[in-house]
Each structure stands twice: as structure tokens, then as C-alpha cells.
Amino acid sequence: MAKDTKDASNASASAPLGPPWVACALLTFIMDAADKAVLIGDLEEEYRLLSRHSPRDAQSWYWRQIMRSAPHLILKRLQSLKIQPLGLAFVALLGAFLLIYYWDIWIARSAARTFAAMTNASSYFYSRAIYLLVQMIGVAIGGGLIAFFTFSTAVPFISNIAYRLAPAGLIVFAPTLLAMINPADNYPLSFRLLWLSLAIPSLIGGARGGVWLQARHN
């Protein structure tokens, strides 16, 4: 008992003043005004309880909560804007398109450049591999978003793939696909084939994740 009290006081001495401010700011940005204070209050109450035992675990718990809550809160906010289903699908497609575009430019290429800078000039193959890997994560997230916002629970997964994911995926990934088939771009054939053979399973895998999230949301 005495040991517990001592541990708790040691932990509280090293505890941060409050929850991670970046996470709070993110939450404030994605939430509508109505329940913002209540939800942040709930999170803070649990965060303080957890941080008495382990401030580090409390921080990671807070971040996990924000990341897992974000899709629900964004969807709720979009629904509160009274956008019709077609408009919602358009917003989702645009969002996924922008995500892929900026993911490619800011994250995938930066990761490949950073890797190339950190290693020798001969590591062209590995920097390409890093680029592909990071890009496929983006493709999977895009597939997940499309599935989460557009898939119907009334039809089988394969029908959703054919009638929703395939057309939406073609629109969202049009620039990347064009770059892959354009002979003017200096991509070797092997790279193009590798890209396609990785992108399709990543897209479908992402869609599976989106369906899982959708089921949890409902």
C-alpha cells in the first residue's frame, strides 16, 4: 500500500501537466462545437487517472484514442453539414485524392530522398523500395477511406469492389496510373509492373480495413 502511494507520487512528480497538446489541437480541429468540451473532458479525466501510474502509457493511450476516434468524428461532422450522399462521396473522393497526392509528394518522395541521403549513392534500388513501400501505405489508406465512406453493407464485399472501389480508385489514382503508363516518364517496365502488382492488393487490403472500421462505427 505504502509502496503504491510512493509509486503514484513518483509518477505524478514526473507526469506532464496535461494531455499532449498536438492531439488536443487535432481533436479540436476535427470536432464540431457541440460536444467538443464534453469529449475532451472525458479524455482528460481518464488521461489523469492513467498518468498517475504511467505518464508514458497515458500519452500513448491518448494518442490511440484520438487516432481511433478521428474517422467517427470526421464522419459525424460531415453528416452534420447535411451533405447529400453524392456530395459526401465527392468530398471523400477529393479527400482521398489530395491525401494520395500529398502523400506521394511530401511523404513517399521525402522518405526515399532521406534514405538515399543517409546511405550511399549506390542505394538507388533501396530508395525506390522505400518509396514504393510508403506509397503503398498511402494507397491502402486511400482504399480504406473509399470503403469507409462509400461501401454499402447491403451487398457483398466483391460487389462493393466492382461498383464502388474500382471506379473511385480509378478516379483517385488517375494521375499516378497515367504516370505509370506514360512512356515519357522514366519508369522502367519492371517498376511499373511491380507498382501495379502491389497497388491492387494494397487498395483491396485498405478497403477491408475500411469495412472493418465501418462495421465498428455502426
Partner: protein
């Protein structure tokens, strides 16, 4: 276009937690109740969007409670199940019960049905 009045699986869990906790239930306690009893991890965002949907359907009512220091001076929102919510919960549980009745041993039966299902399409 009105929302469907049927309950989803997570909505059933939330309403059941509200029945257990009475009118003092709020986000933290509802989340803990579901995590402990249903052994399932629940995000606060999923919980609040479900509670707000249940409120729109007219199954749940809410009131703003007191602000406390451990919440950073922010107020709680207490939720309580309404009579309509309780009736719908009972209806859903009855429907589930009658669907599961006679499925003994049910895991084997369900497995057989799942493998047979594509042939009917």
C-alpha cells in the same frame, strides 16, 4: 430521409450499458462498462457518435452535468435511456434470441451455413 429505427450491434451494447448504469452514466463510465463486460476496446469518438445517433432516434436523453477539476473544468454530459429505447432494446434482444434459438451446437451449424451460402447465389 429518416434514420432506420433498428439497432446495430454497438448500439445494443451502449443501450445495455445505459440500462445498467441508470441516469448517472456518462462517456467515461459507459466506455468502461462496455470494455469490461463485452471485452472490447471502445474509442471515445465511436461512443459519442453512437450516443448522438441514439439521441436523434429518440432512444436516449442527455443533460449537461457538473464541471470538475479532474476534467480540466469541463462539464460532463449524462445520458439516460428513454422508454422507447428500452422497448427497442428488448425487441432487438428478443429477435437475436429467437434467431439463435435451436442453433445447438451453434458454431458448427453457422460454419455449415457459411460454406453453403455461396451456392445459393
Amino acid at each position: 430521409m429518416g434514420r432506420t429505427k433498428n439497432l446495430g450491434e454497438f448500439e445494443i451494447l451502449v443501450l445495455a450499458a445505459l440500462v445498467r448504469q441508470g441516469s448517472d452514466a456518462y462517456g467515461v463510465t459507459i466506455r468502461k462498462e462496455i470494455e469490461e463486460r463485452a471485452a472490447r476496446s471502445v474509442s471515445i469518438g465511436a461512443l459519442y457518435s453512437t450516443l448522438s445517433r441514439l439521441e436523434e432516434k429518440g432512444y436516449v436523453t442527455s443533460r449537461v452535468g457538473e464541471a470538475t477539476r479532474e476534467r480540466g473544468g469541463r462539464a460532463k454530459r449524462h445520458y439516460a435511456i428513454k422508454a422507447e429505447g428500452q422497448a427497442q432494446l428488448e425487441k432487438s434482444i428478443r429477435a437475436l434470441g429467437s434467431m439463435l434459438k435451436g442453433l445447438d451446437p451453434w458454431p458448427k451449424t453457422l460454419r455449415m451455413r457459411a460454406t453453403r451460402a455461396p451456392a445459393h447465389r
